[in-house]
Symmetry: C2
């Protein structure tokens, strides 16, 4: 499944510039003030889910690990920072030596999350941790938004396969990450060759309307496609008249025709008509694939229709109305001094205008009720209550700068399916509602 060994063509030499300028100016000011080496704890969390959503899906963790490993300041990057006078020579020397040597813990990829869940915790010196803020948030905010939409769509699709085909609707590299996140959220395959190349996701695709229009007659196009791809191919039947196209398709390919694709019109109605026609023509094994502007609601509305697979584009790669998450990366604790034994002090923004958060280094656990069903997301500081020790959610991802938790993409996908299944049943209702688990805080007063 994992073909990453083939090469990393969609990666970039360094991730260090996927960074807001203020991370570097803060670094410089802290270096000069002697505070840069204070041990610090940053946490990634979101204050809320998108309106009406029942759960979030963490995706992008594997990409964060790659980004942290590749976060280094090469000579051309240092030259740029120097030419622009963004930081001074002392800071440039520090950056030239930069490697993250701290620790990262987090929810494993594919896990569900709720408001306040500390989905990632980055610990080290202030200097080494603050630099990672922008790229970590870029990855988690994007990928988790796509995975959440994908998860809702895969619930709605039941066991039917879902094809990701949104590359043309989003940035060409965001598309590759979107395919990856969609796969974690339960999609089956992608149209995007770069996603197949980079992440080993199964790729699919046969033809577009242009192929039919290129030929003098629809039948000529069908014949050309079947000769090239075999009778098991999928023929697109809505360029002209659907009924005529289905008849021509079965004539050309025979009843062994793999599938027909419908990309426009009233899919519910057309799918029923096409199924009946295919059956009458003896093509009882020919599948029907639908692909027109689907979202989770449209997928659900086709549950009783004779549809065998869904292709989803725009609504998937734009997060079905919520193209980003609102994850933030906040300093929650830092040492009183640069003395390695100095105790950590919990810190938090406290102004009156909202955006406050809870200070202190957090643990998280998912608590079951007496019947064993999950009933709450518990987030706390200080000691973990005995009953929750074995139910903690954060795992070690990076230890002293070394990635310790790489895994194949299928592991994240399997984890997501299991995590979603362990939620209360109302999690997969598509209607708007509150988060399916309440978040409870257990704050240690000494912290």
């Amino acid at each position: 499944m994992n073909t990453a060994d083939l090469g990393l063509p969609v990666d970039v030499p360094s991730t260090a510039l996927f960074t807001d300028q203020y991370e570097l100016t803060m670094l410089q000011a802290a270096l000069r003030a002697g505070t840069a080496e204070r041990r610090s704890v940053f946490e990634v969390f979101t204050r809320r889910l998108p309106e009406g959503r029942r759960y979030g899906v963490l995706a992008g963790t594997g990409r964060v690990l790659d980004a942290v490993e590749n976060f280094r300041f090469d000579p051309d990057v240092l030259d740029f920072l120097r030419e622009r006078d963004i930081v001074g020579e002392e800071t440039l020397r520090w950056l030239a030596e930069y490697r993250f040597r701290g620790d990262i813990w987090g929810y494993p990829e594919g896990e569900v999350y709720f408001p306040g869940s500390p989905v990632m915790r980055v610990e080290g010196s202030f200097a080494e941790c603050v630099l990672l803020e922008t790229v970590i948030l870029s990855i988690l905010n994007h990928d988790s938004a796509i995975a959440a939409a994908a998860s809702r769509m895969s619930s709605a699709a039941g066991g039917r396969p879902l094809i990701e085909m949104g590359a043309r609707r989003t940035h060409e590299l965001a598309a590759v990450a979107a395919s990856r996140a969609a796969y974690i959220g339960g999609f089956t395959s992608t149209s995007d060759l770069a996603a197949g190349f980079r992440y080993g996701i199964p790729t699919v695709g046969t033809s577009a309307h242009a192929f039919t229009l290129l030929h003098d007659r629809e039948r000529d196009a069908f014949r050309a496609q079947v000769e090239s791809m075999g009778r098991g191919t999928t023929l697109l039947v809505d360029t002209y008249d659907v009924a005529e196209a289905v008849r021509a398709a079965v004539e050309v390919a025979g009843p062994e025709l793999g599938a027909v694709r419908i990309d426009s019109g009233d899919l519910l109605l057309v799918a029923h008509r096409v199924r009946q026609q295919l059956d009458e023509l003896g093509a009882t094994g020919t599948r029907i694939i639908v692909t027109s502007d689907l979202d989770e609601y449209a997928i659900a509305s086709l549950a009783a229709a004779p549809v065998d697979a869904y292709g989803v584009g725009t609504q998937l790669v734009t997060g079905s109305g919520h193209p980003t998450c609102s994850m933030v990366y906040k300093l929650v604790a830092r040492a009183e001094s640069t003395d390695p034994s100095a105790p950590l002090v919990a810190v938090a923004k406290r102004s009156t205008g909202g955006k406050t958060s809870i200070g202190g280094r957090k643990w998280a656990a998912r608590r079951p009720d007496e019947r064993g069903e999950t009933e709450a997301e518990v987030v706390g500081t200080g000691p973990v209550p005995a009953g929750l020790v074995d139910r903690q959610l954060l795992v070690e991802l990076v230890k002293g700068g070394e990635v310790v938790a790489r895994e194949p993409l299928d592991a994240a996908r399997d984890r997501h399916i299991a995590a979603r299944a362990a939620l209360p049943l109302s999690a997969t209702q598509l209607s708007r509602g509150e988060p399916v688990l309440p978040t409870e805080y257990v704050i240690d007063e000494d912290d």
Copy 2:
């Protein structure tokens, strides 16, 4: 301005895999059927603007030109296609030699567009043109969505500077393209260092709440920042109590303090209070920058507030409610045979389910009324009416495979500002409405 010579670290070795698999399977079937070399015309257009929007903004053209130049199938890519059995050896040999050798015309970057505007036209053999569909749409759909949002925001901001700071809210490379599109749409600078590096966009940034929280007292953080960055820096004043912070900021930096930033709360109210306090403290030249969840409506609502600059993140990089455009890439004409002199035949999907389009190779012009004010977007096939010949919108971008229209980013930015200014005044109303220019079609019956 243009520092592209510094290197291309956010580019990728080849763009050929930013492609839906069906482009390759269509290619193979057409090669075998002998139709692949039919001369073909594909056009990029959108059937509608996002609901309520008055105009679209074309962005990404420059990135498309890069992508077309770098669209080639390297050995590792060919190996991948072979291993996955996506196409056969004959097609792989064809792909190994692939270079686009056709012609591309289009609206110049930064130009406005309307439903039906043929914003890009790709002409050559079916084979060489069909392969470019996915990557061209990825770029134009993403970048134009961001530019449209940026343009509305820059209208709303009047002459006040706009800082793009959305990197953390979108995919890390989409963020770089978003900075570029925002700059075209009228933004002034970006927080994203990669956008500065790759496209020469001015970068800015000073500090976050974490920097204040790192220090024992807010005043210590301010002092550290001023010592590092000088009195002209921007101090963030809403970590604890805003009024206390403003007092401390002016005490530490003196009345020469460059700016204060407010990132939460009721910005209208807080900006007025902070302005009054700064003036009373003698810091009459200290500017106020606001940065909290702004969109074009929030920016407009602050028009009368003493605000000197806006920083915009989430709503910019997500297209302010419309994170993608609905541009499509359609075969509109193709030759009757592979004979180079064979005439072009207009083609179009004609099924009843919607998504129909107008066949034929198009021209476009923007028609003024008798007072010289722009009154319609005219799109046609066949001969261009004499009065519109000098008002045509498409320009040559690629000729026989060679890019002929590279330009600095500022040219696109200046063009956008001029194009928007030439529209009827209602173009810049933020309220929902119809496209500010109607699209009129002049279809040649012989075509």
